[in-house]
Symmetry: C2
Subunit: 244 residues, 2 copies
DNA sequence: CGACGCTTTGAGGAGATTCAAGACACGTGG
DNA sequence: CCACGTGTCTTGAATCTCCTCAAAGCGTCG
């Protein structure tokens, strides 16, 4: 059972809306005031489910709107002209996808569940509606999309470093994102395959495997299949600073 | 004298504003109606000049607002913790920078002129102002920022291909962007150094140089220092399709 | 005209890939 | 509950692409 599947929703019996969602400080509502959150909440479809391997949306299909993950994890992928997959990002609870369809109104990427996911959906036509009544929503989307741009630049910076540093950074990055979401930062399950990690980082799955074993042999981490435990976070961090 | 410096502004003697700018179908006004363009035009500072090597804004400084290049060219760069430069993008007339400061209100990147540039400036505080009177402006910014995200994904896809393909794609990409802007698509001046090209593509300047010479020896291009002529565009394009 | 920076070219080496094979984990059905 | 089969992960050896280091050529600008 994946750590990411553990339900963290409120224990009351009221239906969960944006107002009482535990992810409100991460997701679309971040930065909106109470009233604005209420307006968004009215337009969001909740409790959509996808199982492992199922797509939330497909590249080439019309813009569906914004998707906010509530539980589980997903990957955002793109395909080149030969059909080769590129894992653009891994998506954790509270994170938003869909920007890849906003500019052209056609999705540029495919979002696929890595395990059972529950997500909220703000449909495309309701975004236009909201942008008239609640202009600050568009501001929020602009903010999030620029956040994405910033993190793309970070990924670009990492892509110039060695395979070891990329893997170390990947582990620390996932760890930090889980921590912010209230999960354990030192012990978690990697819901994606070595192949998908490698694809995302720009190395082969063999290289990922070798580096994970190397980190294990140096007592930086402990790995049993997809389960991962960080044993020496500080030293793992040092890896990123080292020359060479 | 750089091709990019050739003035393409209207030949009338009226001052240039967004309404009669030749770049209106590329820049911020793209997608806005006449009235909205007028509103934007009132808030834009025009005719800002920077010379080669000068910064338009610096990483770490407060968000300046959006910058639209009118003539010349620039590079958008980021720096890692060791001060290593990463060339995130090259900027041509009609293109917009500044998104890197929008999310955090602190610029994440530095924009530097590669030759004398003339740019328009939509100050940060006026953006807030516009977002109230002209909500569609924020929509436009959201569109552009998602465009940027799409093109980042394209760059990510290219970064998985061989150095030769990256250079071929780079040349074709610049060529296409110049064409759309009304410049010659087959003969132009590369305002950036081999070092900067390599940095942007993730290869060394020696490798860029070798590949440019290779393309020249195969009669795909003709290069004299920074001046470049595409001799066989079709064949250059084929390079991208080939396996291996 | 000289000096500096940018570009080109060469030789050797390192890091990551490719190909191949074996180990392990997980889900299915007996 | 265990045996089996498939897909994922690990490990090894050979290869290759690109980098590093070094030096020479060229262009540009004071």
């Amino acid at each position: 059972m994946s750590d990411l599947n553990i339900s963290k929703t409120s224990t009351t019996h009221r239906p969960v809306t944006c107002e009482n969602c535990n992810l409100d400080n991460l997701c679309i509502p971040k930065g909106l005031d109470r009233q604005e959150i209420g307006e968004v909440a009215l337009l969001v479809n909740r409790n959509n489910i996808r199982h492992k391997g199922e797509a939330i949306y497909h590249a080439g299909s019309p813009f569906r709107g914004m998707i906010a993950l509530r539980s589980g994890s997903a990957k955002l992928t793109s395909f080149d002209q030969d059909g080769n997959e590129l894992v653009v990002a891994f998506i954790l609870p509270g994170e938003i996808v869909g920007f890849d369809g906003l500019a052209t109104q056609i999705h540029n990427c495919t979002a696929i569940a890595l395990e059972t996911v529950n997500y909220c959906h703000l449909p495309a036509h309701k975004i236009e509606q909201l942008s008239l009544n609640t202009p600050s929503l568009v501001n929020v989307l602009l903010q999030r999309s620029c956040d994405e741009l910033d993190s793309q630049v970070q990924k670009l910076l990492m892509s110039r470093r060695s395979a070891e540093k990329r893997v170390a950074n990947f582990i620390l990055n996932i760890s930090e994102r889980l921590r912010v979401r209230g999960y354990s930062e030192l012990e978690f399950r990697l819901s994606m395959s070595r192949e998908e990690i490698g694809n995302h980082l720009g190395v082969t799955h063999e290289t990922v495997s070798r580096i994970i074993q190397l980190f294990q042999s140096r007592k930086l981490i402990e790995v049993k299949s997809k389960q991962l435990r960080i044993m020496d976070k500080k030293e793992l961090f040092n890896y990123l600073q080292l020359a060479h």
